[in-house]
């Protein structure tokens, strides 16, 4: 009797996935992002090679684990110089049952410094992250660690957070906690059609004691060297400060029909190594405007520059990259985007700076992605 009931139970569990699409609720949300492109010329500090290529192909699984935890796993496949790299970009658990609007995330995840860093690359409005992000954060900094976030009990949005990371994905080193970050964000609405968010972040890199870094005298092409393996940042400092501001506007707040997004960030890094003087620092910023003028079409422009110090033994060489991007994107549905972008680079100290046209697609299938601000 008991046996048959068990059998029946097992049988129905097996059948459920076939019986109805709603049974999907037991299974994790699966989403896939396809990102491919054609790029006319190679450019400086870029993570995308010229010609046809695949960008950030992503497979993501997420689900509640139980009533106290949710989890997410994101694997990324990237092509570099003909080699496919598989990277684990996210593998974390997050609490859902903490008091006082506290949340804790542990495992591997994207650091929440700055505005763009915690976002997935496929949500971006341009083919690549701004030059300052590529140089100082390797486009997006993720690592193994722990995050604690607290929402303050204020009538407006105010979040403070701290992260501690292994740090080896930014700079190799021996510290147990190689990187820690502090971050705060504020935001709100102005009337029904405008909303904004401002953030301040601090990232401390404790693995830059000047030992290995800066002594790679033979390694002139930092940027070149860097895309072979993980996207560790090519330029680092013991302290990295980021300020960001985002403002969005939609008539009547109806983001479906039209949306104008203005955003900008400023990044500053100092204490580059033991030879650095107070005048030696990295600095970069960008500002971008994207206007989605119908549900399917958007245009955007972005200007950014980064001033860098390339370490050569006990001294530094100045480098500078200015970048202007103009893009036009078409989205058939919520889940597909084709993008045409023109990038103009003018540089000092980069041999490979060039202008390029890039045609890119970003397609998602599976679980509905999040419309984050």
């Amino acid at each position: 009797m008991r046996f048959t009931r068990l059998q029946a139970g097992l049988f129905s569990t097996l059948l459920v996935p076939f019986a109805s699409a709603q049974a999907n609720e037991i299974n994790p949300d699966i989403s896939v992002v396809l990102d491919g492109y054609y790029k006319q010329n190679a450019t400086a500090l870029s993570h995308r090679d010229e010609g046809f290529g695949l960008g950030h192909t992503e497979l993501s699984l997420s689900a509640p684990i139980d009533d106290l935890f949710t989890g997410r796993l994101t694997a990324v496949l990237e092509e570099h110089h003909g080699e496919t790299e598989v990277a684990l970009e996210e593998a974390y658990l997050q609490t859902t049952g903490m008091p006082w609007n506290l949340s804790v995330r542990g495992g591997r995840f994207l650091s929440q410094v700055g505005y763009l860093n915690s976002r997935h690359m496929h949500e971006d409005n341009f083919v690549e992250r701004p030059a300052a992000y590529r140089a100082l954060l390797g486009s997006h900094y993720f690592d193994d660690g722990l995050r604690v976030n607290l929402l303050m009990p204020t009538p407006f949005f105010w979040q403070i957070g701290a992260e501690a990371f292994n740090g080896n994905r930014l700079t190799e080193g021996d510290e147990d906690i190689g990187v820690y970050t502090l971050n705060t964000r504020f935001g709100g609405d102005i009337g029904v059609s405008q909303s904004w968010q401002a953030g301040l972040s601090y990232l401390r890199n404790r693995q830059l004691h000047g030992d290995e870094h800066g002594d790679d005298h033979d390694d002139h092409g930092h940027d070149e060297h860097d895309h072979d393996h993980s996207h560790a940042a090519a330029y680092t400092g013991e302290n990295l400060y980021i300020a960001d501001l985002v403002w969005k506007w939609s008539p009547d707040g109806n983001t479906r029909q039209q949306q104008l997004t203005l955003s900008g960030e400023y990044l500053y890094a100092d204490e580059l190594n033991e030879h650095a003087r107070s005048s030696d620092y990295h600095q970069g910023w960008y500002t971008s405007a994207v206007y989605r003028f119908t549900p399917q079409w958007s245009v955007g422009a972005r200007y950014g520059r980064v001033d860098l110090k390339e370490a050569h033994g006990d001294h530094f060489h100045d480098q500078q990259l200015k970048e202007t991007d103009v893009m036009l994107a078409w989205s058939r549905s919520h889940f597909s985007t084709l993008r045409l972008q023109y990038t103009h680079q003018s540089a000092h100290g980069f041999d490979d700076a060039d202008n390029t046209v890039t045609l890119q697609y970003v397609m998602t299938f599976g679980a509905h992605g999040a419309h984050d601000f």
């Binding site: 509640p64 049952g97 707040g253 299938f365 509905h368 419309h371």
Partner: protein, 308 residues
Amino acid sequence: MISKPNRLAWVFGWLLALASMPASANLNVFACEPEWASLVSALLPDANITTATTAWQDPHYIEARPSLIAAMRKADLAVCTGASLEAGWLPSLISRAANRKIQPGSDGLFFAADHAPLHQSHDHVDRSMGDVHPEGDPHLHLSPDAIPLVASALAERLVSLAPDQQAQIQVRYIRWRGEWNQQRQSWRSAARQLEGTGVVTQHSTFDYLLRWLGIEVIADLEPKPGLPPGSTHLRNVLATPELGRASVIMVASYQDDRPARWLSAQSGVPAIVLPGTVTGQPDGETLEQVISLIINTLLNYQEPTNVD
């Protein structure tokens, strides 16, 4: 003068005091759409309600913006449509607000679609069909039969969260139900005039009501659910022989009305913009008023044809 550590302690103490302030007696309610805000305020008028969207905003495409995270942070109850209508923003809001009262499966999260049968549920969906929800059409808020089921479940949920107000909530629910039934009688008699007529729509926003009234949807301006009307599809609609039977082209207040105006100019079928939900304006403060407004408008466009 306060020394630095003291000042920090002072700030921290102040923040702690703020955090531990006794929650106000009134329930904080986060309503994803204005129709649920109006239902909550009918049942619990002194609730502090934040409404995430308006009748001029497409509820599919809201962003998890800071002000909504702040509202979700302090909510005791979130009332949403469910059936994946808010799939793009509600999970993100819930996760970022880290409010343990509002979590999937908890009493603090109420989905209207869980309490009424949905039309057009699918065993199989893929996105080549458009943005179709496997659970069924989530736009149930204008359904004369579904809303009482939702209201009854909502009243029950409010009682469980504010047990001291049980009697008042139950009295208000019975009164609300009486008024709704009375209105439904008048809608039923209007339906006798409207039954068998046809309309053109854009998305399934009004489908529950149209089905209830016995009105046929002759064509949808969206080529697939969730895709904006394109010129190829509009030309196909224009070529539909049944288009002549349509009394109106209905567009919801949050939709772009240009495709409907174009089709109207080409075909002579009048295009009308109707509130997609509760607007807060004098003729659209409650769901009853919105449904009555839609039915009366449809009746107005019916009469000339009857006279002919």
